[in-house]
Amino acid sequence: MAGKMINLILKVWRQKGPTDTGSFAEYKANNVSTDASFLEMLDVVNEELVTKGDEPIAFDHDCREGICGACGFVIDGEAHGPLKSTTVCQLHMRNFKDGEVLTIEPFRSKAFPVIKDLMVNRSALDRIITAGGYISTNTGNAVDANANLVPKADADEAMSSATCIQCGACVAACKNASAALFTSAKISHLSLLPQGQVERKDRALRMVAAMDAEGFGSCTTTGACEAACPKDISLVNISRMNREFLVANVTKQPKHQDGGAG
């Protein structure tokens, strides 16, 4: 693990709030251990800023293990930086060279307004999930877990889609700021499993409509999202979503109200 020390120059986007225009500021990051993570490098810069009485660079983060999806910004034009399949919190400084100049800016999309500096509001993604990204089953209703057998291949495929961490890198990487990869991963996860069948069509229709309503752009399958995804969510999900949506749209039935004769 033996680390060495490197020095970097950072050009960081500073923006006080959603209405501020924002601009780049330059900072020196000196004596950065190559064993440190990118966020630990920013911690050091921030400690210096705070000691001087300046405000630290704001960025979202929590688990620092690549799983909570809180972190994420753009380094030199790439969402989550240069390393494939890696969130910024898992990006380590051994991937950078001494003397490098790095440009750091927030994920940019109309649907992700900047809160401060590198911190953006991604709650639009939660609202897409709220529009049917679930299986309607109340606590206590479940049958024995082994009552429905699921072929291993389907379970594995569903799991691969379900590993999405909702970081928003797909949106940031897309020239149209489309949320198709994110939305399709959830639609795929649930439509691949027997439990997800009952609401399958309705889910596809509602989630796609919610995605459009949030102001995300349309997908032109350039694949930039897949390349930027830290969890390797595959473009196959998008084809699956398109198919699900199409079938659901064609076979759509009028909705009945609850109630009935009683």
Partner: protein, 638 residues
């Protein structure tokens, strides 16, 4: 009457929960809509509670500090979740899971709670599968299992190395469905800064909107705290950065007793500390011990590359010392053994504070593909962090603070000493005694949220007269004013040191004197040092910016201020408990071969602390533990 009435129902251990549910008061469906419940924290425990309460028809107000509930720290759980399904036909049963948990907790947990946990464990798996959690499966389509420490059966369900993520997504989606249906109002990026108590009952919370900086008040008929654990008191731990004791601590200051604060779990397999600027430690899941073998060189100071050290010169010390559990010895035991080996000078890595976790034998036996299928994402994470490839050389690991068994005291109903305040998940002290077994925290959080609280909160609301109140009540104003004045006090200090520098200083003290090994002298020293750090903090911390917009330094400062009080209580509790049990190891109390030596005559109790005011010694209340089903015995994994 002592305030510590555990309210354990009568009857045989097998019948307690059923009888209790039957004799509980019910709220009729039309009245449920008139009741509101606040749920603070939307990790596994909180999200499952909010979803289930919403389904029942209560009006739920849910809060979390995260941007999205799906980012709660539960998301990071890797290895799995236990349940007494006995799908493997290997002799598991509710009773065995109950027994293993009591024994694993070194006989310091309440039997009735643990039995209920084991009893509902099977329903959790059913529920999660119904919600679409893609658990690992066998080729025949049935669910797969693995083994975890402290058990000789295979009862752990998992989803690759991301079980917590998948379970949280299940609970979160259930809650978002209730948001969709209008039964749950969700407020994110809110930090609870106080509990509001009216006429002795929990009736609301004061929160800070972390974006706008505003202080807000919310009222309800009952409050649930599901705000997670406090391992971050050590600064370096496996917990996520925002994990804090603040919500629980503020409730403690309003009258909720804090139980067994010194029971903390140091996890044996974490990536060792690399340097000064490290911000957290990364866990390597316990599941790795299914296929990994732990060893150190036989001779001190052996600096050879691990692959060059021949079999005969390696000490597989867990297999040697604990032949029947081997590498699957429970966490407290495995951590202590790693410490002993490093103390003997046989630790590896540049610092000498690490041991090997070696997969070479399993790779030879099962092939790299099989190992990669089981642990691929963990191996990748290790490689990313350390730059070493664990397929080619053994991992280096060392123990790190991970989980806190202590927490707010609750009775059988999960109700604290403040009526109407319920506590769930890692935030309560309930089920794990002095040591938690692997894969049992996820189980407990979901048991609390899905199955226990919906019933016990109904009982409370159905049987309690509650005046109608609103946030214009004086108690809300008073609480909001206090929160505001604490914030202005912090902002006004304008000192010279950063929040993190204080947090690190506290963490070092805790790790040194209240970590894996504790003794009287060290704890007394810590009790002298902590108040000094706290005093300097309140005179010399520097928080830039202002309080009326997002201010991450201010957030951290509030949390560290509470850790500085909690740390002292942990040392106090550790000093008072003159025995060793589970994760609490008092060096004065050990057997000849270095195992924990309990004192059942004097310490077979829960220690619950009552807040007495700033800088005053808290008063201790005891809940005696009785064991009617499991015999108090010396724990042995040999």
């Amino acid at each position: 009457m002592s305030k510590l009435d555990s309210k354990i129902p009568s009857g045989s251990i097998e019948s307690k929960w059923q009888n209790h549910k039957f004799s509980s008061k019910l709220v009729n469906p039309a009245n449920k809509r008139k009741h509101s419940v606040i749920v603070v924290g939307t990790g596994l425990a909180g999200a499952s509670a909010a979803a289930s309460l919403g389904e029942l028809g209560y009006k739920v107000k849910a809060f979390c500090v995260h941007e999205s509930p799906r980012r709660a720290h539960s998301v990071a759980a890797q290895g799995g979740i236990n349940a007494a399904k006995n799908y493997q036909n290997d002799g598991d049963s509710v009773y065995r899971l109950f027994y293993d948990t009591i024994k694993g907790g070194d006989f310091r947990a309440r039997e009735a709670n643990v039995f209920r946990l084991a009893e509902v464990s099977a329903n959790i798996i059913d529920q999660m599968v119904a919600q679409g959690v893609p658990f690992a499966r066998e080729y025949g389509g049935t669910l797969a299992n693995r083994s975890f420490g402290g058990a000789q059966v295979s009862r752990t369900f998992y989803a690759r190395g991301q079980t917590g993520q998948q379970l949280l997504l299940g609970a979160y989606s259930g809650m978002m469905r209730q948001v969709d249906l209008g039964n749950v109002e969700l407020r994110t990026r809110r930090e609870m800064l106080d509990l509001v108590v009216v006429d002795g009952k929990a009736r609301g919370v004061t929160v800070r909107n972390l974006v706008s900086g505003e202080i807000e008040s919310y009222e309800a008929d009952a409050v649930v705290l599901a705000t997670g654990g406090y391992s971050n008191v050590f600064f370096l731990s496996t917990n996520a950065m925002a994990c804090a004791v603040t919500a629980a601590w503020k409730a403690h200051k309003r009258g909720a007793y804090f139980a067994n604060p010194c029971y903390t779990q140091i996890h044996p397999t974490c990536i060792p500390v690399h340097g000064e600027n490290q911000s957290k430690l990364t866990l390597m899941s316990e599941s790795l011990r299914n296929d990994g073998r732990v060893w150190v060189p036989k001779v001190q100071g052996d600096k050879r590359h691990p692959n060059e050290i021949p079999e005969s010169e390696r000490d597989y010390y867990l297999e040697r010392v604990y032949p029947s559990f081997g590498n699957l010895a429970p966490r407290d035991v495995a951590s202590r053994q790693a410490k002993y080996r490093c103390d003997e000078g046989r630790g590896v890595s540049e610092t000498g504070r690490a041991v090997y976790l070696d997969f070479a034998d399993s790779i030879k036996r099962l092939g790299q593909d099989k190992i990669s299928e089981r642990y691929g994402n963990l191996f990748q994470m290790y490689d990313k962090i350390t730059g070493d490839d664990p397929y080619k050389m053994p991992m280096m690991i060392y123990p790190a603070p991970h989980y806190t068994m202590g927490g707010l005291w609750v009775d059988y109903n999960l109700e604290s000493t403040i009526p109407g305040l319920f506590v769930a998940g890692e935030a309560n002290f309930s089920d794990h005694g002095a040591n938690r077994l692997g894969a049992s925290a996820l189980m407990q959080g979901l048991a609390d949220g899905y199955f226990v609280l919906p019933s016990t909160i109904g009982n409370y609301l159905g049987g309690t007269k509650l005046e109608k109140i609103s946030t214009t009540h004086d108690a809300f104003k008073f609480s909001a004013d206090e929160a505001k004045s604490e914030i202005s006090k912090l902002m006004g200090i304008k000192g010279n040191r950063t929040v993190d520098s204080f947090h690190k200083e506290l963490g070092n003290i805790m790790w040194e004197y209240c970590g894996m090994g504790r003794n009287k002298e060290g704890l007394k020293k810590a009790l002298e040092l902590i108040p000094k750090v706290r005093e300097e903090f309140w005179n010399n911390v520097r928080i830039p910016g202002d309080a009326n917009y997002i201010n991450t330094e201010l957030e951290k400062a509030g949390r560290v201020a509470d850790f500085l009080e909690l740390g002292e209580l942990m040392c106090q509790d550790a000093l008072e408990r003159e025995e060793s049990c589970g994760g609490h190891f008092r060096e004065e109390h050990q057997t000849a071969d270095g195992e924990a030596l309990r004192d059942d005559k004097n310490f077979c109790h829960v220690a619950a602390w009552e807040w007495a005011g700033t800088n005053k010694k808290q008063s201790l209340h005891k809940e005696e533990l009785t064991f009617e089903n499991v015999h108090l015995a010396t724990r042995s994994y040999k």
